[in-house]
């Protein structure tokens, strides 16, 4: 027996390729959508991986430092380090802001890292070029995605930094590339007041008789110094000693230091379950709509292709073709259309993914699921056409 579906496709290949490509673009969008979601999850995981931390110590009752703002005193890390099971504890600041690059600016997450050695929590784990920060001020390590190159000068607030090293795929949970600067500089950037604000506050403090006492001139200086200084960071990253569980280490810090402590699993839960949850639902809705639209379009195309063949189907029935054979022909064509669409869509998504501003991660399991969904949709879509074909009266063919 010859393949009726195959012969018809060969005969009208232009129509099939054309509709297949159209369908493919739709499938491509769907796959890319799934990739956008995967990319968001991956951004979150990459952020946690690259931080090199086992525990995040943040302000009490906050979901900091990524999902909510958090500030803890910058001298607290010493006592955290002294807690049992803690191997390293370092300050860190995160601030998402616009960083000037020449005449334009890029959105980036500025990370303040403590002076120390590479490999400490918070430090970029590996560079693709240049070196790590060695000086306490005005050096920066930037992610390639910021567009900076080694030797470039970038401005954060009032200060200028020279880029000495480059990273790849160091991003915040919302996909903004990171710029690492020394902690002191970052603290200044985050909590820095502009000159006018400082002057205003100084004037107010001076005018306050409680601080400006005639008998104690040093008091005013001390108060002003404490107001201008910035002694907060966003979180303390903790690495635990081998042999301790995160639970064992986190519990005493929570109890004694009155801080909130998250381990890796909890942090992932916050990033994926809370920070990107709305976006994920948004994408989920899109996926549902796209799937429904694709299904409707496949159904419509298959229906139209079958309508065009009513005559032939009637003749096939007239010469004794079984319903099974006719149904198989329509189903096979529907599936071929789906396969063409899937291949086109997969190729389109693969080529389009790098062009997106944020990370689009195409994972094989999504492709497999997508393929199965396409097959399912095509099968369902052909049901309508098959039902119609089986109702055709052979007598109609010969009018």
């Amino acid at each position: 027996m010859i393949s009726l579906a195959g012969r018809d496709i060969l005969h009208a290949w232009g129509k099939f390729i054309f509709t297949g490509v159209g369908l493919g673009l739709l499938i491509g969008v769907t796959l890319t959508m799934a990739g956008v979601y995967r990319g968001m999850v991956d951004d979150g995981k990459v952020l946690l991986d690259n931080s090199g931390a086992d525990l995040w110590v943040v302000q009490k009752d906050t979901l900091g430092p990524y999902a909510e703002s958090s500030s803890v005193p910058d001298d607290l890390w010493r006592s955290v380090r002294a807690m049992p099971g803690v191997s390293q504890a370092v300050n860190i600041t995160y601030l998402t802001m616009q960083v000037r690059r020449g005449t334009e600016d890029v959105r980036a997450m500025v990370v303040g890292i403590t002076a120390g050695e590479p490999g400490a929590p918070g430090w970029p784990p590996h560079l693709v070029g240049g070196r790590q920060i060695t000086r306490g001020h005005y050096e920066a390590v930037a992610d390639l995605a910021t567009g900076f190159r080694i030797g470039d000068v970038l401005s954060i607030r009032r200060n200028r930094y020279t880029v000495v090293g480059l990273t790849r795929r160091m991003v915040s949970s919302s996909g903004d590339p990171m710029i690492f600067v020394p902690l002191k500089d970052a603290q200044e950037a985050q909590f820095l007041k502009d000159n006018d604000a400082i002057l205003m506050q100084r004037r107010r403090t001076t005018a306050n008789p409680a601080f400006n006492r005639p008998g104690a001139p040093d008091l005013l200086d001390a108060v002003i110094a404490s107001q201008t200084g910035n002694s907060y960071v966003n979180a303390i990253l903790v690495r635990i000693r081998p042999g301790f569980t995160s639970q064992e280490v986190a519990e005493p810090i929570r109890r004694w230091k009155r801080l909130t402590v998250y381990d890796r699993a909890q942090m992932e839960g916050i990033l994926i379950g809370k920070l990107i949850a709305t976006s994920a639902r948004q994408i989920g809705m899109f996926l549902v709509i796209l799937a429904v639209v694709s299904a409707a379009i496949v159904a419509f195309i298959i229906y139209t292709l079958t309508m065009d063949k009513i005559r032939e189907i009637a003749v096939l029935k007239l010469i004794g073709t079984r319903n099974r054979t006719i149904a198989a022909m329509i189903l096979q064509q529907s599936i071929v259309l789906g396969v063409i669409g899937f291949v086109v869509g997969k190729i389109a998504a693969t080529f389009a993914a790098p062009m997106f501003p944020k990370y689009v991660l195409l994972v094989p399991i999504d492709s497999i699921r997508g393929f199965l969904a396409v097959l399912g949709i095509c099968t369902l879509a052909s049901v309508v056409a098959i039902r119609m074909a089986l109702k055709v009266d052979p007598a109609e063919a010969i009018g």
Partner: protein, 245 residues
Amino acid sequence: MGTRGIRIEKLSKRFGEGDTAVLALKNVNMQVAPGEVVGLIGPSGSGKSTLLKCLGAVIDPTSGRMTLDDTVIYDDGWKVRDLRALRRDKIGFVFQAPYLIPFLDATDNVALLPMLAGVPNEDARRRALELLTALDVQHRARAMPSQLSGGEQQRVAIARGLVNRPPVILADEPTAPLDSERAMAVVRILNDMARRFETAIIVVTHDEKIIPTFRRIYHIRDGVTHEEAGEGRDFERPLHAVAAS
């Protein structure tokens, strides 16, 4: 009582209901023996196609009785469950227009029938090609229907009607678009089939060239038939003999 061939008794067919009803066949009686080719002639609208369609299980008669190849297929209602299988296995139909499958070439349009009956592709194609050769279209065997002339399409359609060597062949104006030489070839092949495979054949025609070749003719007018003897004139020597198999 066994009746090989075709037997039609009191067959009626009414189209529509009430005032607009058309009585296309009125108590038609007809009998065709195995190995016999009979002509069915009558003016346009007299009910010729309707008769063939009823007999070919394409449309439902209104009443009467039809027997095909020893089987009562209709007796005031269909007596066969699978009409499609009946058409495939018992009846070769040549319609008034070719109705070829546009996405199959000439050979496969013919070979599809034996393939549907389970004959291997190569055997089916060989049988198809033999018939196309006998009908003088073997040179267009690989052409698609849209590339064939009307007469070529008609000959492919005739080959399709004959290829399964059914016990009954119903041909509705098979020679209308053909020149006299090729029309004669068709008549020759039909007679050859009838003789060799004991086929009962009804040929509807207006074609003056072929009417004299029938030994028996049914005339039909306003849905009523009457039988008369034909001339049974001999036809010239074959163009190509039907390959024996």
